[in-house]
Symmetry: C3
């Protein structure tokens, strides 16, 4: 395997780990809501892939998830894991949160890059990038009928780290900096912001009533 293949494989593995973490949160919510295994699989797939599918539909391209079987199979594995071990998973909740935050970092970067590649201006590219990262969670919450986490006052800024990461990529693109180093930095910033927001219970501003 040459260097490029190694990079591509490493990248796919990263994506699948993020997809797995997202899918766990979907399947776990299905257990909480007392859904059956079909409901678990639907919520797992939707949470894991919904953001990217939404981005691709808005870009007018067939969802990438359809052409890489691993994308569709990973949430099914997560469904099986949650089905069998959902009680034990609570013990590793902190670890799952960590991987979930890494997923947010990765997907906001990838989503923004794809939107820019499709010729979108900066602002919509940032919005689509953040949608890639948090859109699956919104669809999950809609299907499970609870307030979308991303809208709530107690959401510890779920969307803001993704918007930051996406904005870094868009600014880089604007000044013709598109190195992988910037992508890694942007993902790291989004990841760190998300972890700090969780750790210190940061909240986004909300209007006084």
């Amino acid at each position: 395997m040459n260097a490029v293949d190694t990079l591509a494989t490493g990248y796919l593995v990263l994506e699948l780990v993020g997809i797995f973490a997202f899918a766990l949160s979907g399947a776990q919510l299905a257990v909480e809501r007392d859904f059956d295994i079909v409901g678990m699989a639907v919520l797992a797939e939707t949470t894991a892939l919904g953001g990217g599918v939404l981005r691709d539909v808005l870009l007018g391209t067939t969802p990438a998830a359809f052409f890489q079987p691993a994308y569709l199979i990973t949430p099914l594995i997560a469904t099986g894991v949650v089905f069998v071990w959902h009680r034990q998973l609570e013990r590793v909740a902190r670890f799952v949160t960590l991987v979930d935050a890494a997923g947010v970092g990765l997907f906001c970067v990838v989503g923004t890059q794809k939107a820019l590649l499709f010729g979108l201006p900066g602002l919509p590219a940032v919005i689509l990038g953040a949608t890639s990262a948090v859109g699956g969670g919104v669809l999950r919450d809609l299907l499970a009928r609870r307030d979308p986490a991303v809208l709530r006052k107690d959401s510890q800024m779920y969307a803001i780290p993704a918007l930051f990461g996406a904005t870094i990529i868009a600014i880089g693109y604007w000044v013709h900096v598109t190195t992988p180093v910037l992508a890694v930095a942007a993902a790291a910033v989004a990841f760190a912001l998300r972890m700090l927001a969780l750790r210190y219970n940061w909240r986004a501003p909300h209007p006084r009533r």
Copy 2:
């Protein structure tokens, strides 16, 4: 009328009967939820055509429903029927369930075939095929704000028959069997599974809490 035309007409009639049954369930839910006639028409159209529209949007093609007026008019007729006779319809509930199950059988087959025709691999084609059959019901439940039937533990396996029918088509395609006989068989299997699940109150597995 020659044989091909007769087949095509028979096929369209079948589709419209399935669409009519789906639309009835949408309009009836609107009555239960105390919506007005616009709400009834919106739920009827969404239930009847939403699955196919979702499939076509995900395939990146203009929804087929837009180019066959009968597809859009049939749910309006169902709305009128429910508006006038919604109390009497309860007496034929069993018959409507039968036609609804036939619709699930038909649409999971048609949806999978279309996805394969668009070059999708087997697994996403199966998912899109099942989405064609049950996606309209999910959208209906979202608009009417109740738990999507397809996710619920007491759903008597609404999605599983559709997944079975879709899988038969995908396997057939894989081994180069695409005869109409297989399509009819797959639709019949989905229909029979759905009716058996209803009759014997079959449930999909669900996690122990």
Copy 3:
């Protein structure tokens, strides 16, 4: 600036005023639901642009909102206005309703015209036109988890004026009348119907239970 440019600018200003009014209703609902500023911005963008985005996705074209920065920025300004002055805005509620009704009139006309331009037959063009006008509100209500206003018995016919305006455009197109005068007339009819429905508390028919 020549006459054509003046017209185009006037038209864009009209659209932005409509978008602003729609966005206000989204941001205000977010305040009622106790969301944070991200939730306000998401609801503002969704309410203002969701109908047009839905229309464009169904037409298979990249949403127009992505290529005109003013479309995306206007809801952010509305979010800021609501964030600071949400209590004072109640005093101008009547004025906001007026602008909102004007938005419904404008967007049902623009949406129908675009759908006809894309080669859709009359009935789906009318449906997409009405969707442009009221679809954003449906998405807003879904995200905020309340019954979509457009379905409710007490909705004072939110969708019907839009359907009327859209139908006028479609009939005009059918008889080859596509003058701007007809567009203005259709928008005015939708606007007037909406205002009359609000003033006299008109309701659409609903089934007897």
